[in-house]
């Protein structure tokens, strides 16, 4: 099990006179001492609870529902027996067809029988589904609480506000990966849910792919052994945290997600971690500019988590600012910071480029997506470059010269949109 973390900081500590912005990347690795996790009853102070939340609204009728049922049934078969689970099927109402239960053979059979009988009908009111899931997760406050949500359509127009409220209530209670099947759902909507619930968003292009996708999600969820890990950031009096983002494996802006622990201390949620999991975080902190020769601690970051009943703090890392008149030192940009600045720019260019394209501003879209191709190419983000090539014709990747394709498959555009936040790490040399 994960019982410790280590951290490394990458930054150029040297600032020119008058400068006040400090950037640093912190690489965090979850470590394991080799001790095995206590075998605990899943619902008695520990263990795991995994929730399946699946759309059964009218639009799912046919192949999508058949595939989704098949995927849910397989997922239930694969659940380890020391894990608890529940199933919420959603339309205009939420149906908790299998309330929280330990994944025994009998419980699995019961759940599968109920899922088989379900028919598609009704609207898509996601707030109701999330509230039903929240009810289940409240049974297991100390378990690792994770879920998957699958839908194929947009949320009901009257559910905007209730969804916001439901998300506020669910935030911090459970994590949820979101999947959209087909092309009738809205990327922004699903991404907002996944981001709030510290999960991933992706498109499942064809119904028959739901099964393998669910399997991957379950595998990842079951690998997690430390839950509710917080990133704690101390900053000096008078400093402003400009942003705090997870930047690898995906870009997730945590800036507004903090809990103020003390006047100078904030905690950001990072969810659950698996053994050997590595993530990178980007901090930007504005400090009061010092005189040449001054050295200031601009930030101290650590991870806070609970082992048994005690709070542990690990991986303390220092972010420094040293003012110098030596330009050779202050002009250098740390290459890890530069890399992730580029990856954030890449994601932003794609988001804005696709937005420009959909409102018909082709000039703007060409410029932004061209820029994205250039950055993806230069930083070796092959996966994103490939997705971009489905949307634009690349004439010169190095220069970022592209032409928008006249015909773009909707699923290609959505895949680019959902996956644009996935980053590459800087190759070690």
């Amino acid at each position: 099990m994960v019982d410790s973390f280590k951290a490394e900081v990458f930054q150029n500590q040297y600032l020119p006179k008058g400068a006040e912005e400090v950037h640093a990347i912190m690489t965090v690795t979850a470590m394991s001492s080799g001790a095995t996790q206590d075998v605990r009853a899943p619902l008695a102070g520990g263990g795991r609870l995994f929730g399946i939340i699946c759309d059964i609204s009218g639009s799912m009728e046919g192949e999508k529902l058949v595939s989704a049922k098949g995927a849910m049934i397989q997922l239930i078969h694969l659940l380890p027996e020391d894990c608890a689970f529940f199933v919420v099927l959603g339309e205009a109402e939420a149906h908790t067809v299998c309330p929280t239960e330990v994944a025994t053979q009998e419980a699995k059979v019961r759940a599968i029988t109920r899922i088989r009988d379900v028919k598609a009908s009704g609207a898509t009111v996601i707030s109701k589904w999330l509230m039903a899931a929240l009810d289940q997760f409240r049974y297991a406050p100390n378990a690792l609480r994770q879920a998957v949500l699958l839908t194929d359509g947009q949320n009901d127009k009257n559910d905007v506000k209730p969804l916001q409220e439901a998300l506020k209530k669910c935030e911090g209670v459970f994590q949820c990966d979101c999947r959209g099947v087909g092309t009738d759902w809205k990327v922004d909507e699903l991404r907002r849910i996944a981001n709030t619930l510290l999960g991933t968003t992706d498109i499942v292009m064809k119904p028959e792919q739901i099964k393998s996708d669910f399997e991957a999600i379950l595998g990842k969820a079951m690998s997690k052994t430390a839950g509710d890990v917080m990133l704690r950031l101390w900053t000096p009096v008078g400093a402003d945290i400009l942003f705090c983002k997870e930047v690898s494996p995906q870009i997730l802006d945590l800036s507004n997600r903090f809990r103020q622990v003390k006047p100078q201390v904030r905690e950001y949620p990072t969810g659950a971690w698996a053994k050997n999991e590595v993530r990178d975080f980007h901090f930007a902190i504005r400090v009061k500019p010092g005189d040449v020769g001054d050295e200031v601690l601009a930030g101290r970051a650590s991870l806070v988590y609970t082992v048994g009943d005690t709070e542990e703090k690990a991986a303390e890392a220092r972010i420094l600012a040293i003012w110098t008149d030596d330009e050779a030192k202050s002009a250098k940009i740390d290459n890890v910071v530069a890399h992730y600045t580029g990856q954030s720019e890449l994601a932003e260019s794609i988001r804005q480029g696709l937005e420009a394209r959909s409102r018909g501003d082709m000039e703007q879209a060409t410029a932004l997506l061209g820029k994205a191709v250039q950055v993806a190419h230069q930083t070796g983000n092959d996966a994103t470059e490939k997705l971009l090539r489905n949307v634009v014709e690349v004439q010169d990747a190095e220069a970022g010269t592209v032409r928008l394709k006249a015909q773009v498959a909707k699923e290609d555009e959505m895949a680019l949109d959902t996956r644009s936040t996935k980053t590459t790490r800087l190759p070690k040399n």
């Binding site: 009096v237 400090v287 001054d294 050295e295 200031v296 601690l297 070690k428």
Partner: protein, 298 residues
């Protein structure tokens, strides 16, 4: 609470000193209030045997470390210069110095091995300690290492990297070590004089660390005529006196009449700082009297 004034306050923000963290940063404004002790290290074992290590002027911390020890008639020195391109170079230097000097201490007390074998074993243990450090990190902290044993009229020197040992007497200075630098490599010799002047001529070819090409130190043993001075130093010093002649002149000017080994070491460090102090500076001095070994008491 009400109206109580903290005993000592931070220089600018008024936060109490009790909130200073372990590295000396103020808990309020974050300003560095205290430099770490490693910024300037002085050790004096005898009036003829001492060393100084200093952060210099341009580096943010001192990543040089050294240790000196004595066991009956034997004197031993270890100097390590953490490679500043690697992470936690100070930890690497510290680990290497510590493991090497521990092995030397044990070995010199037991007298079971030849001096050469002991030095080899000690450097191997020093290397091992740095490798272990690298296993716990995603990158490999690394360091140079030079160690010497002086017993009666014989000096044994072992090294990996470009920290140096010199022997100085009335007839001048001899550089006992040969830097493991690109300049001295076979490739550079073939490339000729032009290449030797290239910017990377001082690039390290060998070092101690998990990513090091090998751990075998180069060992040299030399009989000495009694009476002289043994100096071990990091490149923070010798960069300002690269040739043996320069070094001989420097040591001569630092060795004022009656000066202790500590005073000489301080002078050498001060010289490098006055020249710009671009790197961390370490100088360890062992004076060998004309009769036998360092004179005690001075």
């Amino acid at each position: 609470m009400g109206g109580s004034v903290p005993a000592a306050a931070c220089c600018t923000c008024g936060a109490p000193l009790s909130e200073m963290d372990s590295e000396g940063f103020c808990g309020g404004c974050g300003r560095r209030l205290k430099r770490p002790d490693s910024d300037h290290i002085e050790v004096e074992l005898l009036s003829d045997f001492a060393g100084v290590s200093d952060r210099g002027l341009r580096h943010n911390r001192n990543e040089d470390r050294f240790a000196i020890t004595q066991s009956s008639d034997a004197f031993a020195i270890v100097v390590c210069d953490g490679v500043s391109m690697s992470p936690d170079a100070d930890e690497a230097a510290q680990a290497a110095v510590q493991a090497t000097v521990e092995t030397l201490n044990e070995g010199l007390a037991k007298l079971e091995k030849s001096t050469t074998d002991l030095l080899r074993a000690a450097i191997r243990n020093g290397s091992q300690a740095v490798t272990e450090l690298g296993k716990r990190k995603s990158e490999s902290p690394s360091t140079t290492l030079v160690a010497a044993i002086l017993r009666q009229n014989r000096v044994t020197v072992g090294w990996i990297g470009d920290s140096r040992a010199y022997w100085l007497n009335g007839s001048g200075a001899v550089q006992l070590t040969r830097d493991h630098s690109w300049e001295n490599s076979a490739a550079a010799q073939q490339a000729g004089a032009e290449a030797q002047r290239a910017a990377n001529s001082h690039a390290l070819m060998r070092w101690v660390g998990a990513d090091a090409p090998d751990f075998e130190p180069e060992i040299l043993e030399k009989e000495l005529r009694p009476g002289g001075l043994l100096l071990l130093c990091s490149d923070g010093l010798w960069n300002y006196a690269p040739n043996s002649e320069d070094m001989a002149a420097l040591i001569a000017s630092a060795s004022k009449p009656g000066a202790t080994a500590l005073a000489v070491s301080r002078e050498l460090v001060e010289f490098a700082r006055a020249k710009g102090g671009h790197d961390n500076i370490t100088a360890v001095v062992l004076r060998h009297s004309a009769s036998e070994g360092p004179a005690n008491g001075g």
